[in-house]
C-alpha cells in the first residue's frame, strides 16, 4: 500500500502526556519499520495516545503479523460453513435451522502471572466471543499445559488455573464438557491456558461485528473501565522476562456475575433486532473493538473517551482506549433505538452509555473533552501493519532426537502399564473436571472422562460432540506429522462417540517466531493441520495464534490445540468410551506397526523424548472415522475408545477400568496372537500409531462389525471378550500371558493426580 500521508489528520497531545521519543516508541514494542510507516501514514509524529493505539493493534496478538501468510493456507470452505475465519467465532450449519458457533483462545501470559484470574478472564473472553455472534454458549472446554507436578510452583499454577476456569464457567452456567491437561518440562515458567467455547444459535439470528450507517451511535455496555491490563495485547506479544515482569499490566479481575448479565442482555439485544452490530472488548479493549468494527464496515468512528464510565477518577484517553477491563461490549445502533437499548440493559442491571458515533471520513478519531487526541486512517490502522515472513530452519537437535533411540533396558509390560496409568499425562483428569460443572443446562449426554463430550440440542433429536486435543510431544519431534496427528486425534475422539466431524478451531501456541527453529515448527505444524483438515473435510473456521511462549528456560513445545465440533444426527445412538457388559466382544480397529517414536512409553518410563513419531495415514484415519460413525448409526457398538497416548494397552485398560462414576471396573480376556506377531511386545502394547480404536459389541453383532470394517478397508481383529467385575484384565500372546487387576488399575488411574495435589498451597 502506498505510504502517502492522509491530509487533515491532526491531533493534539493530551495534557501532561509524554512526548514521543525513540525510547517511548521502543517501550511500545514498535520497530523502526513499523514506526516509519506510522509517521508516513499520518504525515507527522503520532501523539502518545496514537502510539498506544498503534502498539496495541500492531501487536502480534491483534495483527497476526508473523502468522497471516501461513494461516491463509488453511482450508476454510465447505457446504457446512456459515462463517469462516475473520469474525469473533466461526459458525457451522446444523439441521433444522440451527447453527453452532465456536472458538478457542489462549490466555497464557496472564495465567503465568496470576493463575486464578488469568484463567478465569480467559474463559470470560471466549464466552463473549461466542455470544457476540448471537449464539448462546452451551459448552466449554479447556486445554492446559504445565511443568511437571513435582515442582511446587507448577502445582500452584495448575491448582489456580483449574479453580479459575471452574469458578468462571460454573458461575455463568455453561457446562465444561472436556479438554486436556499435559505436563512437560518445557512449560515450566510458561504454562498454556487455552479455553474453547461452543454456542448454539438459529442461523437467521447470526449477527456480525460490523459498524454501519453514518450517524449511528456507539455504546459501551457492561462494566466500568479501570486501569486493568493496559497493554495486555503487547504484553502477550513478548517473552516473559525480568523486563516484562516490570511492565506487567495491572491484573484483570473477572466478574462472572456481570458476564452472565451481559450474556443475557446481549442475546436479548441481538434477537430484538434493535442493534446494527455488537463486539466484545477483548485484547486492546475499546481500541480494537471500535477500530475493527469500523474497518469491517468500511466507515469511520469518533469516540469521546470522556464519556466512557470509569472505575477510577483521572483516567487518560490513553488508559481508557487501552484498558482491558473485562465484561464490556461495544454496540452500534441507530440513534432512535438508544432509549430501548438502555431499557433492556437496565432490566439486566447493566448500563449502556453512548460514547461516539459512526462517521463517513474513514478516520478513527478520539476526542477527550472535545479535544482531538487521536485521528488515524481507520482502514490502514487495522490493515497496514507490516507482515513478516521470517526465516524457518529446523533445529539440528530435533533432527538428531528423531534419529536417536532410548537407553536400553526393558521394563516388564505389567509394570509398564501400571506406571503409565500413574503418569499425570495419562492418568484420569477427574481431579480437574470434578471442579467444573458439566451438567448445567441439562443437556449433557456424554460428560468429561471419555473421548469427546456430547450435548443434545434441546427440542431436537441431534447432538453435538466437542473435543480439544494436541499431543505436543509429537510436534516437538516432527511438527508436520504432529500437526496432522492433532487433527486426526480430535477427529477420532469425535467419531468414537458416533458423531461426524464438522470443522475445527485452533489455538496455535508457539515460541518466538523470530527464531528460525520456532517459525519452522509453526509453518510445518500448520502444513500438517491444513492437509488433515482437507482430508477430513473439516474446514478451519477460526482460531488464535499465541507466539512468544518462552521463559528464561526456553520456548514451550509447539502446541497447536485443535478444537473440533461434530454432529450426531440421533443423539440416542451415542457411544461411550468404556466397556459396557460382560460377554461383549472386544475388537481392535486399525493396524498396529508398533511405532514408539515420541511415545508416552519412552517419555514416562525411559525419560526419553525422541525417535520418529508414526507418519499419519490420513486415508486410514478417515476410513476409521467412517467405521466408527456407521457403527454407531447402525447401533453396533457398546463402546468405542481411540488409541492415543500409551497406545493399545492404555486404551484397553481405560476402557476396562470404566468411567469416572462406574460402579465397578470390568475385566477382559484377550489374546493378541495373530495380531502384530512380528512386533516386540512393548511396540505392540504401547506403540502410538494412529488410526486405531478399541470397540466392543454384542457377540451376535461381531460379523456385522467385521463386514463393515472390511467394506471401509479397516483392519479388524477380534481380541477377546469383556469379563465380569472381579475378573482380571488378561492379555495372552503366543504362550505368554500378562494379568492385571482392573480394580487396582482403577485406583492407580484415578488417584494419580489427587495424590500429587493433596492439600498443597505453596506459591513459591
Amino acid at each position: 500500500m502506498p505510504e502517502t500521508a492522509v491530509a487533515g489528520t491532526s491531533a493534539h497531545p493530551f495534557e501532561g502526556e509524554r512526548a514521543v521519543t525513540p525510547e517511548v516508541v521502543r517501550e511500545h514494542n514498535l520497530n523502526d519499520l513499523e514506526y516509519g510507516r506510522i509517521v508516513a501514514m499520518l504525515g507527522r509524529t503520532p501523539t502518545l495516545t496514537e502510539l498506544g493505539v498503534f502498539s496495541a493493534l500492531w501487536s502480534e496478538h491483534c495483527s497476526y503479523k508473523h502468522s497471516k501468510p501461513v494461516l491463509r493456507t488453511f482450508p476454510t470452505e465447505g457446504p457446512q460453513v456459515v462463517q469462516g475465519p475473520g469474525e469473533n467465532a466461526g459458525v457451522l450449519r446444523l439441521p433444522d435451522g440451527w447453527a453452532v458457533a465456536f472458538k478457542v483462545e489462549s490466555h497464557n501470559h496472564p495465567s503465568a502471572v496470576e493463575p486464578y484470574q488469568g484463567a478465569a478472564t480467559g474463559v470470560g473472553g471466549i464466552l463473549r466471543d461466542v455470544f457476540t455472534m448471537g449464539a448462546r454458549p452451551v459448552a466449554l472446554l479447556n486445554s492446559l499445559r504445565f511443568g511437571p507436578l513435582d515442582v511446587p510452583r507448577n502445582r500452584y499454577l495448575f491448582a489456580g488455573v483449574v479453580r479459575g476456569v471452574g469458578d468462571y464457567g460454573n458461575c455463568v452456567g455453561v457446562p465444561t464438557l472436556g479438554g486436556e491437561v499435559g505436563f512437560a518440562p518445557g512449560y515450566t515458567g510458561n504454562p498454556l491456558v487455552n479455553a474453547m467455547c461452543v454456542g448454539l444459535l438459529r442461523e437467521d439470528d447470526l449477527i456480525r461485528a460490523k459498524a454501519e450507517g453514518v450517524g449511528n451511535v456507539l455504546l459501551v455496555v457492561g462494566a466500568r473501565t479501570g486501569r486493568d491490563g493496559i497493554h495486555g495485547a503487547s504484553f502477550a506479544s513478548e517473552e516473559l522476562s525480568e523486563a516484562s515482569e516490570a511492565r506487567r499490566p495491572q491484573v484483570q479481575v473477572g466478574d462472572p456475575f456481570t458476564e452472565k448479565l451481559l450474556l443475557e442482555a446481549s442475546l436479548e439485544l441481538i434477537t430484538s433486532g434493535m442493534i446494527v452490530g455488537i463486539q466484545d472488548m477483548g485484547a486492546a479493549g475499546l481500541t480494537s473493538s471500535s477500530a475493527e468494527m469500523a474497518a469491517r464496515g468500511g466507515v469511520g468512528v469518533e469516540i469521546d473517551t470522556s464519556l466512557v464510565p470509569t472505575r477510577e477518577p483521572g483516567m487518560t484517553p490513553y488508559e481508557i482506549l487501552l484498558s482491558e477491563s473485562q465484561e464490556r461490549m461495544l454496540v452500534v445502533a441507530e440513534p432512535a433505538r438508544v432509549g430501548a437499548i438502555k431499557a433492556i440493559c437496565e432490566k439486566w442491571e447493566l448500563t449502556a452509555t453512548p460514547i461516539g458515533h459512526v462517521t463517513d471520513d474513514g478516520l478513527f478519531r478520539v476526542k477527550h473533552d472535545g479535544v482531538v487526541v487521536a485521528a488515524i486512517p481507520g482502514q490502514r490502522l487495522v490493515e497496514d501493519c507490516p507482515i513478516y515472513e521470517p526465516e524457518a530452519a529446523e533445529s539440528e537437535d530435533v533432527r538428531a532426537l528423531r534419529a536417536a533411540a532410548p537407553p536400553a533396558g526393558g521394563i516388564e509390560p505389567k509394570e509398564a502399564l501400571e506406571r503409565l496409568l500413574d503418569a499425570p499425562n495419562i492418568a484420569s483428569k477427574r481431579w480437574v473436571y470434578e471442579q467444573y460443572d458439566s451438567t448445567v443446562q441439562a443437556s449433557t449426554v456424554l460428560g468429561p472422562g471419555g473421548d469427546a463430550g456430547v450435548i443434545m440440542v434441546p427440542g431436537t433429536q441431534f447432538g453435538i460432540a466437542v473435543t480439544l486435543d494436541c499431543n505436543s510431544r509429537l510436534l516437538a519431534l516432527d511438527p508436520y506429522e504432529g500437526g496432522k496427528a492433532a487433527v486426526a486425534e480430535a477427529a477420532r475422539n469425535i467419531a468414537c462417540t458416533g458423531a461426524r466431524p464438522l470443522g475445527i478451531t485452533d489455538c496455535l501456541n508457539f515460541g518466538n517466531p523470530e527464531k528460525p527453529e520456532v517459525f519452522f515448527q509453526f509453518r510445518e505444524a500448520c502444513r500438517g493441520i491444513a492437509e488433515a483438515c482437507e482430508a477430513f473435510e473439516t474446514p478451519v473456521t477460526g482460531g488464535n495464534v499465541s507466539f512468544y511462549n518462552e521463559s528464561p528456560t526456553g520456548a514451550v513445545d509447539p502446541t497447536p490445540t485443535i478444537g473440533m465440533v461434530g454432529l450426531i444426527e440421533d443423539a440416542s445412538r451415542r457411544v461411550p468410551s468404556h466397556f459396557g457388559a460382560e460377554g461383549d466382544a472386544v475388537l481392535l480397529l486399525g493396524a498396529t506397526r508398533g511405532v514408539l517414536g515420541g511415545s508416552a512409553y519412552w517419555a514416562e518410563l525411559h525419560d526419553f523424548v525422541g525417535g520418529a513419531p508414526a507418519a499419519v495415514d490420513l486415508e486410514a484415519e478417515h476410513a476409521l472415522q467412517e467405521v466408527l460413525i456407521a457403527g454407531s448409526r447402525d447401533r453396533l457398538f457398546r463402546s468405542a475408545h481411540d488409541c492415543s497416548e500409551g497406545g493399545l494397552m492404555v486404551a484397553l485398560a481405560e476402557a476396562a477400568i470404566g468411567g469416572p462414576y462406574a460402579e465397578r471396573a470390568l475385566g477382559a480376556s484377550l489374546d493378541l496372537s495373530g495380531y502384530g506377531d512380528d512386533l516386540p511386545i512393548e511396540g505392540l502394547l504401547f506403540g502410538e500409531d494412529g488410526a486405531r480404536a478399541v470397540v466392543t459389541c454384542r457377540p451376535d453383532l461381531v460379523e456385522r462389525v467385521t463386514a463393515l470394517a472390511a467394506r471401509k478397508g479397516v483392519p479388524c481383529f477380534r481380541a477377546g471378550t469383556v469379563a465380569g467385575p472381579g475378573a482380571p484384565l488378561a492379555v495372552r500372546r503366543g504362550g505368554a500371558a500378562i494379568q492385571w487387576d482392573p480394580v487396582a488399575l482403577r485406583t492407580t488411574y484415578f488417584d494419580a493426580i489427587p495424590r500429587r495435589m493433596r492439600d498443597d498451597r505453596d506459591r513459591s
Binding site: V113, E114, Q117, A223, G226, R227, D228, Q250, V251, Q252, V253, D255, F257, T258, R311, E312, S325, Q326, R761, D762, R763, S764
Partner: protein, 83 residues
C-alpha cells in the same frame, strides 16, 4: 511468649472488587445508602510463639508473603497481640 496475630488481606486498590461492588449495591437497596467504597477481603487469625512481638510480626509477615496473601492482587495488614 504466645501471640495472637490478626491479618487483614484486602484486594489491591485499583483492582476491580466485584464482591465489594455487589455488597455496596445490596446495602444501598437495603436503605444503607450511605455506605461507600466497600471492599471485601479475608480476615485471618492465628496463634504463634515468639521471643517477642517484633519476631512474632516478622514471622507473620513471612507467612503472608509466602502463603496468606497473593502479592500480585492483594495487600495485607497485621496486628500482633500478646496472650
Amino acid at each position: 511468649m504466645t501471640y495472637r496475630v490478626h491479618v487483614r488481606v484486602m484486594p489491591r486498590g485499583g483492582l476491580l472488587d466485584p464482591q465489594g461492588q455487589a455488597v455496596e449495591h445490596a446495602l444501598s437497596s437495603l436503605g444503607f445508602g450511605g455506605a461507600r467504597d466497600v471492599r471485601i477481603g479475608r480476615a485471618i487469625e492465628l496463634e504463634l510463639d515468639a521471643p517477642g512481638p517484633g519476631e512474632a510480626e516478622q514471622r507473620a509477615r513471612e507467612m503472608c508473603d509466602r502463603l496468606l496473601a497473593n502479592p500480585v492482587t492483594e495487600d495485607y495488614e497485621l496486628e500482633v497481640e500478646a496472650r
